[in-house]
Amino acid sequence: MLALSRLPLLRLARTPRAWLAIGAWLSLSLGFALVLRVRGHEGATDRFLLELYAPIAMPLLAMAITSGASGPEGVRTFVRGVMPFGARGTSAAFATIGFCAVACAIACALAAALGVALDHGSGADLVISLWVGALGGATYAAFFSFGSTFGPKGSGRGIFLVMNWFAANSGTAGSFLSPYAQIRSLFGGARAGDLSQRASSGALIGLFVACTLLTAWRCRRRA
């Protein structure tokens, strides 16, 4: 498993185009945080987290990392590349999602925390941005990995991104399909349907586990 998780790491490290996308979304979110700070907006931290970071920068940053690590054609194609060399599809899928989840958790947590720090957020804001960023980033990694197993050339990933936005405002049941709805709630924005913040945390964990298992299931066979 450890040997297999080196594969997405090396792909990400050796693909300059992926770094461009990651850099662009990081720059956008930090630039927005800087603008809010310079203009001295009241509640700059909330505006940063709820108006730009949670709806746009965070999912796109996670998608850039997942695409960079598992390839533009998705996890299934990526996993099929190692199956002729003796890897089990499920193990390779778990290793790939595992790496993507860790990478997205670190990147999303750091981006959120840096933005909050730039906007002079409180210590509590910093802690919340770190753990929600980490949990949300890991969930997005599994969510987009699962999405990439659908459609030609991993195009399901884009459909999942759009669904993430639309399902966020479609009641309690719909919000279960949207990491954004849960993350927005945890950052102090609108609730995900009738769910409490505690339930939203649980929903994110559930979404992460479900997407991981479903991705592994879809990658279990070579054909």
Partner: protein
């Protein structure tokens, strides 16, 4: 002993090519699947590798489903997809780790296929022949693979790998099953063969002996000889077609035995120094036609035997009635 490959009435369709009701059992050794891609040769290999699934029937590899045996199966498709962003050396190391081979042998393994120059190349920059050579090298030099499946082992490979493959197949501890449209390649590499025609297995035989199969134009023997004209002049059977090239006589006749006898008589009577006599393998299509005809003949003979066996018994005459004596009525 677990069979390397068993197909049980398998039907499948992959990229427009069909395999229809195929049944095959290969215990071990080197098996050639002779047929073009349109005949379903690639389909059979893909099914065994788990890269395609049958719509009917069962595929059993090394005693289990192909997907459960991936660590023991090497697969060299015509267009391999390699993991991205790895160096060739890292890829062979990764495969060694996954299969349980020693990673210390990587340089030696690459050297055996003349791939040492590619060791530090990114897999994304490899051409298809290079990628196929790397995959074939990994599969055939692994000590853990038990079945290696190859599409066209002597085509679309780097020259060094093409030269290394016959020996690697001979020396492999694993069973090897390969598909080829070239009867010549099949004959030079395989111990056993199966012939596919239009999706159907028309023959699954023991050692590949093209002498046993006469095509529509008969059987052709080639003699490499110092004085070709002397040998040709000594051939006494004028029903044979004779071809003469410098240092080579080609003899074509209706069946293997008559051609061999005619050539034997000519060699003895001319006293020519013959270096080698060999049968020229049939081209793919005549081979398929001959195998189909042979299979049809065998089937019809078996059917006739079965009909004879179940034919209603000839009614036995009952007890002969005693002749009626005159005057008793």
């Amino acid at each position: 002993v677990t069979d390397a490959l068993v197909l049980d009435n398998v039907t499948a369709r992959v990229l427009g090519a069909d395999l229809i009701g195929a049944g095959l059992r290969h215990e071990r050794g080197v098996l050639a699947i002779v047929g073009a891609p349109a005949d379903g040769a690639g389909v059979l290999i893909a099914l065994a590798a788990g890269a395609a699934r049958p719509s009917r029937g069962r595929v059993i590899v090394l005693g289990g489903a192909p997907d459960a045996m991936l660590a023991k199966i090497g697969f060299v498709p015509l267009a391999p997809v390699l993991p991205e962003a790895l160096r060739v050396r890292e890829l062979v190391d990764l495969a060694a780790g996954l299969r349980g081979d020693a990673t210390s042998r990587t340089a030696e393994r690459l050297l055996a296929f003349g791939l040492e120059g590619l060791a530090d190349r990114d897999t994304r920059t490899l051409s298809i022949p290079e990628a196929r050579a790397v995959v074939a090298c990994e599969a055939l030099t692994s000590e853990r693979t038990e079945l290696v499946l190859i599409e066209e082992p002597l085509a679309r490979m780097t020259p060094a790998a093409t030269a290394a493959i016959p020996r690697a197949i001979r020396d492999a501890k694993a069973s090897v099953v390969f598909s080829t449209a070239s009867p010549h390649d099949a004959r030079s590499l395989a111990e056993r063969f199966a012939i596919l025609r239009k999706g159907r297995l028309v023959a699954a035989h023991g050692p590949l002996d093209t002498l046993g199969l006469a095509g529509p134009h008969g059987v052709r023997l080639i003699a490499d000889v110092a004085d070709a004209h002397a040998l040709a002049a000594a051939i006494d059977d004028h029903t044979m077609r004779i071809g003469i090239e410098p240092h080579r006589v080609t003899l074509e006749g209706p069946d293997a035995e008559s051609v061999a006898r005619a050539l034997q008589r000519a060699i003895v009577s001319s006293g020519a120094r013959v270096e080698c006599v060999r049968a020229e393998p049939l081209a793919l299509e005549p081979l398929q036609i001959a195998a189909s005809a042979q299979a049809t003949a065998l089937y019809e003979a078996a059917l006739a035997r079965a009909r004879d066996a179940v034919a209603p018994p000839i009614p036995m005459p009952g007890p002969v009635p005693a002749p009626i004596e005159e005057g008793k009525l």
